[in-house]
């Protein structure tokens, strides 16, 4: 039985009051709840404040480039099907610089968990608009307000028939821990978009702002009903639904690769007889 303590306590570089602290705690809680030991887990992140998270708990870590957590996670997952792979980064990383990988990852449906700290702003670079910034959101780089419409990740994920689509809120850590645990347990690609107040650069979308709008999906909500999911996922503004918006099983990407049945590629020897046959084919 793994305990949250096994994941350790580390000093962070985050601002006091940042929503990231609650997300970090929820993640540890979820990993413990899934009874995973640190060495069974690989956390892959990009660059940003959110992307520093993997440094703040015990696990295998690949902290790569801004925007590129998903391809690295994909490669690692394909090389080592025994690893529990979690890609974790910010909204700018996942939906901005990494937008194309986000689309491709949802199409692939690897057994992979995607956690997005969505503070609707670029934090580490000091407060530019991000893809999820509300249209009109005023920053130093967008003095007349963000000119583009906000990206709604869950709406797009549902439209792409993603296997598991959820939204959580740093202000409700236990609910969030539950979502993350279910995402990790889900067989397929699971997206959890996490509303995360940034106390330094997002004066609009504060804990209070989210609290006034967020509501938990009712018990009778059926996450397997895609049409309902499309409608619900589109909702973001006066009211913001939290919970599992859409969930259904589909074939895993891994199933297309027979050799992944034999475990990690690092343990698979090169077969001389097979190589001989390959060479023969060029006769």
């Amino acid at each position: 039985m793994t305990t949250i303590e096994q994941y350790g306590e580390f000093e962070t570089a985050w601002c006091p009051g940042c929503g990231n602290f609650a997300i970090l705690k929820a993640l540890k809680q979820a990993l413990a709840a899934c009874d995973l030991a640190p060495h069974q887990v690989l956390l892959v992140s990009g660059i940003g404040q959110a992307a520093k998270t993997p440094h703040y708990l015990k696990a295998n870590v690949f902290n790569g480039l801004h925007g590129r957590s998903l391809p690295v996670a994909t490669g690692a997952r394909l090389a080592s099907p025994e690893l529990v792979v979690i890609a974790e980064s910010g909204d700018g990383c996942m939906y901005g610089e990494g937008g194309n990988h986000f689309l491709a990852a949802l199409r692939r449906n690897l057994d992979l968990t995607i956690l997005v700290h969505d503070n609707q702003v670029y934090g580490l670079t000091k407060g530019q608009a991000s893809p999820t910034s509300d249209q009109g959101f005023v920053t130093k780089t967008q003095p007349h307000g963000a000119p583009s419409a906000a990206f709604n990740p869950v709406a797009v994920a549902v439209a792409m028939d993603t296997s598991f689509v959820a939204r959580g809120f740093a202000g409700m850590p236990d609910h969030l821990a539950g979502l993350i645990a279910q995402a990790i347990r889900h067989r397929g690609t699971a997206l959890v978009d996490i509303l995360q107040p940034c106390v330094s650069f997002n004066p609009v979308n504060t804990f209070k702002w989210y609290r006034e709008r967020c509501y938990e999906l009712p018990a009778e909500y059926d996450p397997t009903d895609q049409e309902l999911a499309r409608k619900t996922a589109a909702e973001f503004g006066e009211r913001i639904p939290l919970g599992i918006l859409y969930r259904h099983e589909k074939p895993l990407f891994e199933e297309h690769f027979a050799m992944l049945g034999q475990g990690p590629l690092s343990r698979q020897e090169v077969s001389r007889p097979a190589l001989r046959q390959v060479m023969e084919s060029y006769r």
């Binding site: 440094h55 391809p71 394909l78």
Partner: protein, 568 residues
């Protein structure tokens, strides 16, 4: 009997010239001939002018030839474009409809030989009989292609084949194209450069490849895919090149010997990933098949224009190695070497090839599948003392690399500057220690550099310097000059980085005239030589029209460097 014959089949994409060419090649190899095949095609699927050139004979060839002995023109354009390249005593085979009325031309009434869909077979028959190849060998090749499913089709083909051989035997006389019988073993592999790279990769232990399609690199991956299941290699088409290299890095981090393959434009998108591999010390093989740039350039042609770019690719400073094979054998060998070196030094290693080498085939002695040493990723966790430190500072600069998930040791890799455990740091002393550690690996790389291959007298009057795919034409040009009694030597590089001046400075200094031959417009390798050795190569033969070098091309441009009279 001629020692060699240069056959060029020309036509539109879709006219089946590749089919004819491949069947003919197969038969030639079985007949014990040496062959060298080079292809030229346009960046389109149908139409456009393409050629399939087979240089065959009794001695091994390593380059295409310009002068054509036997031109098989499937359309009028081919006649127009290549008639002028016909060698003395050369022959043009063309349909009566558009055959030129020249002594050298044979107007073939294809319509009489069979229905249009069999004209490829007819052409094969004609060529076969001109070369004196047994009809049975020709037919056997056709049989293997079509399979036994439709006996009636086979029969029809046989008929057309025989009719055509017959026709040629009667009508085409007085040409000495019957090939001398050769000793070359029939049991050879028919490979082009990209196939040899794919075989080398699989033999070297490659387990993961991510790619985004790009000519002329795609066929490397196609060959990996064809054998992926048999060899247990995961190959994934990525959403873009950025994803491809980051996937390969992720797979390598997790223990799969990994590679990416692309061309210049796609590689440009990978350069940030190259820097990531350097910083995280993740082994990675990066294969770049060059084509003429800038930008989209000439997608289906050849060039050596990306040397400087690849050598300096990636921001910041980290060690790397760069190989550039010169023939099929080194495509196979250097790919294995590059994979092993990447794993040992935990850094990106480059293999630089080009469309010419990628698409030119030869029949070569089979490789020995037993004589391989596939890469095994990662160290033994048992040998590690806790806490495990992924980036432990060592004398060699190489830190013990464990794989995530195979033991309770936690593996932490970071693209930020990091401490020994892999966690972000901004401490100046740690920064300095880590930079020094990474750069110490360069010293290791320098110790196992492959010296350039020198052929000919050390004090030659003329020294031809080249790198990568120009090896064949370079040596052929030298041979021709040597046969004319000139004291000529060649210095050919297959490892481009690191360069060890001690390995070649004297050879450059003692030679008379030194000429650098390379496939670009600015003499990139010559600049590199000066940067590393201080030696300025005074003369250059450059080519940047998208076509491969030939001995002829080089010799023509050497003329003005040679004492008159001594002209080749």
């Amino acid at each position: 009997m001629p020692q060699e014959i240069n056959i060029v089949i020309g036509g539109e994409a879709g006219q089946g010239l590749v089919t004819i060419g491949q069947l003919l090649s197969k038969v030639l190899v079985r007949a014990g001939c040496e062959i060298f095949i080079s292809q030229s095609y346009h960046s389109r699927i149908r139409g456009g002018h393409n050629t399939f050139a087979i240089r065959t004979g009794t001695i091994p060839f390593h380059a295409p030839r310009q002068a054509i002995d036997l031109l098989v023109a499937l359309n009028e354009e081919s006649v127009a474009l290549h008639q002028s390249e016909l060698a003395a005593g050369g022959l043009i085979i063309a349909d009566a409809a558009f055959a030129p009325d020249a002594a050298a031309a044979v107007a073939v009434p294809f319509a009489e030989l069979g229905p249009e869909k069999f004209w490829n077979t007819a052409a094969l028959g004609l060529i076969g009989s001109i070369l004196g190849l047994p009809a049975d060998l020709l037919f056997q090749a056709i049989e293997e292609l079509l399979g036994a499913k439709h006996p009636e089709t086979l029969a029809a083909n046989r008929e057309v084949l025989d009719r055509s051989c017959q026709w040629a035997a009667e009508r085409i006389k007085g040409h000495h194209f019957k090939l001398a019988d050769s000793r070359a073993a029939a049991e050879r592999l028919m490979l082009n450069g990209n196939e040899a790279i794919a075989l080398g990769a699989l033999a070297g232990g490659l387990k993961f490849c991510a790619f985004y399609p790009m000519t002329p690199a795609t066929s490397i991956v196609l060959n990996l895919i064809a054998h992926a299941d048999a060899m247990g290699c995961v190959v994934e088409q990525a959403e873009d090149e950025i994803a491809a290299i980051n996937m390969a890095i992720g797979a390598s981090f997790a223990g799969a010997p990994s590679m990416v393959a692309t061309s210049g434009g796609g590689f440009a998108l990978m350069t940030e990933g190259v820097s990531l591999a350097g910083m995280t010390e993740t082994p990675l093989l990066i294969v770049i098949a060059q084509r003429p740039g800038p930008a989209t350039g000439l997608p289906t042609r050849t060039e050596q224009g990306d040397l400087g770019f690849v050598l300096h690719s990636g921001h910041g400073e980290f060690p790397r190695a760069l190989f550039a094979p010169g023939d099929l054998e080194s495509c196979y060998a250097l790919t294995q070497r590059a994979l092993a070196l990447a794993e040992r030094c935990q850094t990106p290693v480059f293999l630089l090839t080009d469309q010419f080498l990628a698409d030119s085939s030869r029949a070569i002695a089979p490789f020995d599948p037993e004589n391989i040493a596939p890469v095994r990723a990662g160290a033994d966790p048992g040998s590690m003392t806790a806490p495990y430190r992924r980036y432990a500072v060592t004398e060699s600069g190489i830190s013990p690399r464990l794989l995530p998930g195979v033991s309770e040791h936690l593996v932490v890799a970071d693209s930020d500057e990091h401490d020994e455990e892999g966690h972000i740091t901004e401490e100046q002393p740690v920064r300095i220690a880590m930079v020094d550690k990474r750069l110490r690996k360069f010293a290791g790389l320098r110790q196992e550099v492959l010296p350039p291959h020198h052929e000919g007298p050390a004090d030659a009057d003329l020294l031809l310097v080249g790198w990568g795919s120009t090896r064949g034409p370079l040596r052929e040009a030298a041979e021709i000059l040597a046969n004319q009694g000139r004291r000529v030597a060649t210095l050919h590089f297959t490892q481009i980085w690191p360069l060890v001046p001690e390995q070649f400075r004297d050879l450059l200094a003692t030679a008379g005239t030194v000429v650098c031959v390379e496939g670009n417009a600015t003499g990139q390798f010559a600049r590199l030589i000066r940067q590393e050795s201080g030696f300025s190569i005074p003369h250059q033969v450059l080519r940047y029209d998208g076509l491969p070098f030939t001995a002829r091309y080089i010799l023509d441009r050497l003329d003005h460097l040679m004492p008159k009279g001594a002209q080749p």
